[in-house]
Symmetry: C2
Subunit: 301 residues, 2 copies
Amino acid sequence: MRYRHFQELLELVNTKTDRKTVALVRAEDPHALEAVAEVTREGLVTPLLIGNREAIHQTAEQISFAITDDQILDAEDPESAASLGVQTVREGRADFLMKGKLETSQMLRPVVNKATGLGLGGVMSHVAVNEIPAYHKLLLTTDGGMLPYPTLEQKKSIIENAVKVMRKLGCDMPKVCVLAASETPNPKMPESMEALALKEMNQKGEIGDCIVEGPISFDLAMVKERAVVKNYQSPCAGDADILLVPNIHAGNILGKSLTEMAHAKMAGLIVGAKCPIVLTSRGSSAEEKFNSLMLACIVSG
Amino acid sequence: MRYRHFQELLELVNTKTDRKTVALVRAEDPHALEAVAEVTREGLVTPLLIGNREAIHQTAEQISFAITDDQILDAEDPESAASLGVQTVREGRADFLMKGKLETSQMLRPVVNKATGLGLGGVMSHVAVNEIPAYHKLLLTTDGGMLPYPTLEQKKSIIENAVKVMRKLGCDMPKVCVLAASETPNPKMPESMEALALKEMNQKGEIGDCIVEGPISFDLAMVKERAVVKNYQSPCAGDADILLVPNIHAGNILGKSLTEMAHAKMAGLIVGAKCPIVLTSRGSSAEEKFNSLMLACIVSG
């Protein structure tokens, strides 16, 4: 990964990709619409606003976002708005989705529909890209938001999803560290044995386009000096591009620790479907929403 | 918790507790002996050095630590050194133990011996006290090092062990946050249901001398503004004294994230036995060893 700051990704979007269309599902949400307004003003996206036409016009007016009537697609309830969003992606009218004023489960239901959804056969997973002042490059952490307790096969898919994101960011052979409490495989800790299994799959070519290391502790993955002191040898030591966490709790705790205590900036996406999905929450900062939309532009490219 | 910096604990040790005796097991370890030398010079402890007499003298000379022959207790191998260490505590000749040049499992075997060990009937657990620049007070995290997958009953004991440590640090009614990915109890996530159960035990008086909140996410536990935005009400919100993590992986990842990315200083101990046990590793900084020894002085008081 050659980039260290989200600011550099802004240049990447501006120079490398065409302007994308984001379908904002239930756009009558001031926080989400504000974020879409900002990336629209930056010239990154064309907005397609799905929901109650009148409510969307009102919300846009509140936040001084100039929109035209033909940028709105009518949908009266959350379910039909989500379905319409999925349809716009399938028809090529939108490049990616963003969740507005509806529940995550309502947003994802039509996405995962086998017949009419956006699935690609593999799993969908959450990726967070983090800009951490104490780290020398952008770091992807996964999965702290989608699959609570992934199986070994699902972890393989989570890695593959993350690797695809990194390749879109120009990192062709990302270093994947499968985290555990220790670097010693321990049969009493299934996470550590699965980490070893993932490393072996990578060595056999069953997980491609990346270098997988594991089990490995956070400090060995992130700080070269720690690896030197412990005489731990790995091309990934101190240079992780992707951290795979054991489960959703570890992932959520790590992500929040980085943003709240280590002053990290974050962008989050659901990936693994035909297009990325931006699922920020009311608690997300405006900057996080902006960065997530920017990342979606790159990933959907 | 009224303290924010380890420096303040140094004053607490100096003013509030008598000088403690630390039994360093297999003292012929330059890193551990150096740490003991430093706290000895600060006047915090009296050292009792267990191991090969000649090797200890040599090591002490290497690091210019002036010791006398009567500060050494002879033990030829790791097993007998650990047993002798335990015996010195049982006989009141030492106040707490520190691991030197031996494996953790060798150190703990005589400690957990039912007949001749240091058990108190409950579980032994690992506590880390963290000084985090982005947090307004010292924070205890547990258990990232001892019990890999604690049961509900063990989690109760882990909380009780941590509360005892906090009370030694002058925090009489610590706020305990039982971490999970979300603040909503979810039957599909056993960690979150156990967190709720621990909160209910606390409300019924089965876990005393503290306020337990859970399930709660890291950001709600640590940052008041996040709780305000989410309209989340709890006396613990943004003001956690103790974080209980779901398992050893989450605990290790969180601890390393705090020290390596959030510039936290750390002190670690095994507690729940008759005396605390300092188990630092070769990878621990000199400062971490010093802080851990200082914490042990307070906790064994």
